[in-house]
């Protein structure tokens, strides 16, 4: 079968960089759905985008859609012919209505109807170009953007005005009209060269033609070219370009053919915090920063951050440069041409330095402000209307941090914790953070240092919002970790008390991230914190205006919410879903995450023991039996009421291990605890085999039930094995 490729190019006035990736995905998705619906096969669908074009490329499309058979069912088959063998009027009528003759009718068995007459009509395929002329506009209409606009008389809604449509099947035009634009075979070249019209002879020649016009349509190829450009510049300068992936992607969609512009700025601006330099360059001008090859030369905040930094992609919080050994160079990306490089370089430099001068102005003014004055200003910044200001929040965080020091089970420098926690929000009212909200926290570090705080306390302020994303680093010190936890506890408690609980994809205050961050801090730092008590404390500290809430119910919700986050950590660590379930109750009662992990670890290892599954089954059985009891049980059987040898033995065995078990539990040695439990498996099996728990005699029965209950409570101190699958 001869196939050709099909092409749709939507030419648009500069579509925002952040819209393009999703538009490509949608083009791809809708194309595959609509092609399938129309019965038009293809070998491949690809979608690409730049700031001025969205391209859909469908390869290997046959000249027409598949032939289709349409079946029409008629009267029962016995009505085809009469006794004489002639077609009946019913059969003739059915055939006539379908535009055929009775001899063309067949017979088919249809459920509920039996054998009926059928006419199979063959519908020949439609030409591909014709079908595409319906599919293309349908795809365009389906595209969704974060924001739409209208611009023409038909009031078609799209991200930005559509100014051209190129649509081809092989070399044939695919004709349609949408938003007042007729499709044709014209594309356009690079903007910087005057957007010259390009007549595209066939779909297959599209990419080559545009490449010759200096337009790299394919995102991945353009990205490769951009990386290569940066690499080349890096080598030439003998310096390292800080590749910020987010910035890379944004630039990718601001140009059709990347050309680097390298320039220098005054060394003086390197006195600014590295985070600020990076952000001015990245956010305001989309420039890349440059570091010396050694990198990490300056004592900035991120110096000690562990592992590869993905902080640039953090969810709206402090963006830290990869390296702090900044060099006074910038790299901007231009679209397509390298003429007049000097003009562009000078322009870039002037604008950058003007922005830096603003930053210096803000920063030096901030440095002149005492930290307590910043805090006083927080009195006019609302946190949540019913819960007061950020100043009030600071006071609560300070109290929570002090409580955490006393209840975290680790030796910490309480003085430093309290000092740092009193200024965690001070930078919010600074000029720099008001201008660059992403720098909250990071600027706090510099202001704290400036106020004479120790490096450790300053760092605790600077890392207050850490971890910024699921995998990014935790605060570097135990002190910093507690300060950051205090903030998260207060935010979670306050928002839950106000019933601002995340639902579905809605999580405007990023509470999931905060709870996950808290769980990570506790687990990775190994704090023995009772989160149930911590949440109680946090809820207690909330002001009275919110006293409408039920503190116990909110606490349970908070624990459950935190558990869901912890669960994802545990599962990622390799624990099975059912194992995690088996320790959940311990968390809901004692809120001790490291303890839950210790139980999980030992249980997970113990599962390899061939007798373990049987033990878990026996426990499950015991639990089920207890459910049948109608009377309240004490859990203390009387020895005198035992009738059978097996129950006596079990009783004695339980008594024998319970003391040892308590000791192991006190040491949090769940491995030994499980071994103790396993040691009575034999007597437990015998008991179930030989003893009928639900005896006729109620006294005997209740006594046996009490024996089972004592057994169950023994198990339940280790893990709820009945949850295991």
């Amino acid at each position: 079968m001869i196939t050709r490729d099909a092409l749709l190019e939507i030419l648009i006035e500069n579509i925002p960089a952040r819209f393009v990736t999703s538009a490509g995905e949608q083009l791809n998705k809708y194309a595959s759905v609509l092609l399938a619906e129309a019965g038009l096969p293809c070998e491949g669908i690809e979608a690409f985008g730049t700031y001025k074009r969205l391209t859909l490329y469908i390869s290997g499309v046959p000249a027409s859609t598949e032939d289709k058979i349409r079946k029409a069912y008629g009267p029962a088959s016995r009505l085809l012919k009469d006794e004489k063998g002639n077609f009946t009027p019913q059969a003739a009528g059915f055939a006539r209505a379908r535009g055929t003759t009775p001899d063309k009718l067949g017979v088919e068995t249809v459920p509920n109807k039996g054998e009926v007459l059928v006419f199979e009509e063959k519908i020949p395929g439609r030409p591909a170009a014709k079908t595409l002329s319906e599919i293309f506009p349908a795809i365009i209409s389906k595209l969704q953007f974060p924001k739409n606009m209208v611009w023409e008389a038909g009031r078609f809604r799209f991200a930005r005005p559509i100014r051209g449509l190129l649509a081809l099947y092989g070399d044939k035009p695919v004709a349609f009209e949408i938003a007042g634009v007729k499709s044709g075979r014209l594309s356009v070249g690079l903007s910087a060269r005057g957007s010259r019209r390009l007549s595209v002879p066939s779909a297959e020649k599209y990419f080559k033609l545009l490449e010759n016009a200096n337009v790299i349509v394919k995102d991945e190829e353009r990205l490769k070219a951009l990386r290569a450009e940066l690499e080349r510049v890096s080598k030439r300068m003998k310096l390292e370009v800080d590749i910020d992936e987010e910035l890379l992607r944004e630039n990718l969609y601001l140009v059709e053919y990347p050309v680097c512009v390298v320039g220098e700025y005054s060394q003086d601006f390197l006195k600014l915090p590295a985070e600020l330099v990076h952000l001015v360059m990245k956010k305001q001008l989309k420039f890349f920063t440059v570091s010396d090859l050694k990198g990490r030369a300056c004592p900035a905040l991120l110096e000690q951050s562990d592992g590869p930094s993905d902080m640039g992609l953090a969810e709206g919080h402090a963006v830290c440069p990869k390296r702090a050994g900044l060099e006074p160079h910038f790299i901007g990306i231009r679209d397509g041409v390298s003429k007049g490089q000097r003009n562009v370089e000078n322009g870039f430099k002037n604008v950058l330095e003007a922005r830096f001068r603003d930053a210096v102005f803000f920063y030096s003014r901030d440095l002149a402000v005492p930290l307590d004055d910043f805090n006083a200003k927080l009195k006019s910044v609302t946190f949540q209307e019913k819960i007061g200001t950020m100043y009030d929040k600071t006071e609560r965080v300070k109290k929570l941090a002090a409580w955490l020091c006393d209840n975290c089970g680790s030796p910490v420098n309480k003085e430093e914790v309290i000092k740092a926690s009193g200024y965690v929000y001070a930078d919010l009212v600074s000029n720099v953070v008001r201008e660059f909200t992403e720098l909250q926290g990071a600027m706090g570090y510099y202001y704290a240092k400036n106020a004479g705080f120790s490096e450790a306390a300053s760092r605790a302020v600077g890392e207050f919002y850490w971890p910024l994303s699921a995998k990014s680093p935790l605060p570097s010190s135990a002190e910093g970790a507690l300060v950051s936890m205090a903030g998260k506890l207060d935010t979670l408690a306050a928002d839950f008390a106000l019933e601002m609980v995340p639902t579905g994809s809605e999580d405007p205050y990023a509470l999931r991230r905060q709870a996950l961050g808290m769980a990570r801090v506790i687990l990775e730092k190994g704090f023995k914190i009772n989160l149930a008590a911590a949440f109680e404390r946090a809820l207690e500290l909330l002001p009275l205006q919110t006293s409408g809430f039920d503190a116990v119910a909110v606490k349970v919700k908070l624990l459950d919410f935190t558990w869901q986050r912890a669960q994802s950590i545990f599962e990622e660590e390799g624990f099975k879903f059912d194992e995690v379930k088996a320790v959940r109750e311990f968390f809901m009662k004692a809120g001790d995450l490291p303890d839950c992990r210790a139980r999980l670890k030992d249980m997970h290892a113990f599962r390899l023991n061939p007798d373990f599954a049987a033990l878990a089954m026996a426990f499950k059985r015991a639990k089920n039996i207890l459910r049948q009891s109608k009377n309240p049980l004490t859990g203390f059987p009387e020895e005198g009421l035992f009738e059978k040898e097996e129950e006596k033995i079990l009783y004695r065995d339980i008594a024998g291990i319970s003391g040892k078990l308590k000791g192991h539990l006190a040491n949090r040695d769940y491995s030994k605890s499980l071994l103790e439990l396993l040691s009575i498996k034999g007597s437990l099996d015998n008991f179930f085999e030989k003893v009928m728990v639900m005896a006729e005699d109620t006294k005997v029965r209740d006594n046996r039930l009490n024996l089972v209950k004592s057994l169950v409570s023994l198990f339940e101190d280790v893990a709820d094995l009945s949850q295991l699958q």
Binding site: M149, G194, R334, V351
Partner: protein, 294 residues
Amino acid sequence: MNLQDIISKFGQYWARQGCAVIQPYDLEKGAGTYNPATFFGALTGQPVRVAYVEPCRRPADGRYGDNPNRLGKYYQYQVIIKPPLKDIQQVYLNSLKVVGIDHSEHDIRWIEDDWESPTLGASGVGWEVWLDGMEITQFTYFQQMASFELNPISVEITYGLERLAMFAQKKKNIFDIKWNDHVTYGQLHKGQEKQFSHYNFEEANVENLRADFDHWEKEVFRLAKMNYYLPAYDLVMKCSQNFNLLDARGAISVSERVDLIKRIRDISRVCAAAYVKDNEQTETSHKTQVTGHK
């Protein structure tokens, strides 16, 4: 190229595109969008093509003439086209060519920036245009004006004239811009910047500003009822200027700000509503004449 030449080149260029090149409106305003040619022009069904220079006052941005990049009063070149031309982007880029900016020698970028004026109840979708990193133009497809959904849509192109001149003349200080071969921008404007900064930040009488605001606001309602929406709208502009002055004087609290903005939005809406109604009547009677129906 001197600043006055940029203005006259733009005038010639946009006149060739069919624009009426009109004069600034003689009242203080924060942006060219406030000019009645834009405010009313965007509201109805008739086509509009207008271009004009507009002096804009931003009292809080003044720096006593000391800052090389900041002004309390500056010039915009404003173009309104309704409905938008299909090749409006290219038409705009060509306008840069007439003032000596060749795209192939410079980096020109369109950065997403959806404009909004809460006092006018106006919003649009568009871009800032960056020339070698410097913002030189705001380019907007209006979607709403005075809270009315617009149909047809207008495109608004607002050039920052000082920025363009600095660029063209390679100046780092606004006041060094050459207005013509003999006079600099500083010679013409520095005194103004200095005196008005003192007035805006220190001397403007807060009580009077508030009292005038209240009084004009009442007048707008009275005049609009009588269908004198044009003089009514003059008073809207004056209220907006008083608001900006109060802001520069640091006299507005956070909650009052929200309230004042809403009051200005409400009176601009009243003017717009009267204008739209008036226009519908004229349009209907016009159609009746053309088609000969009653």
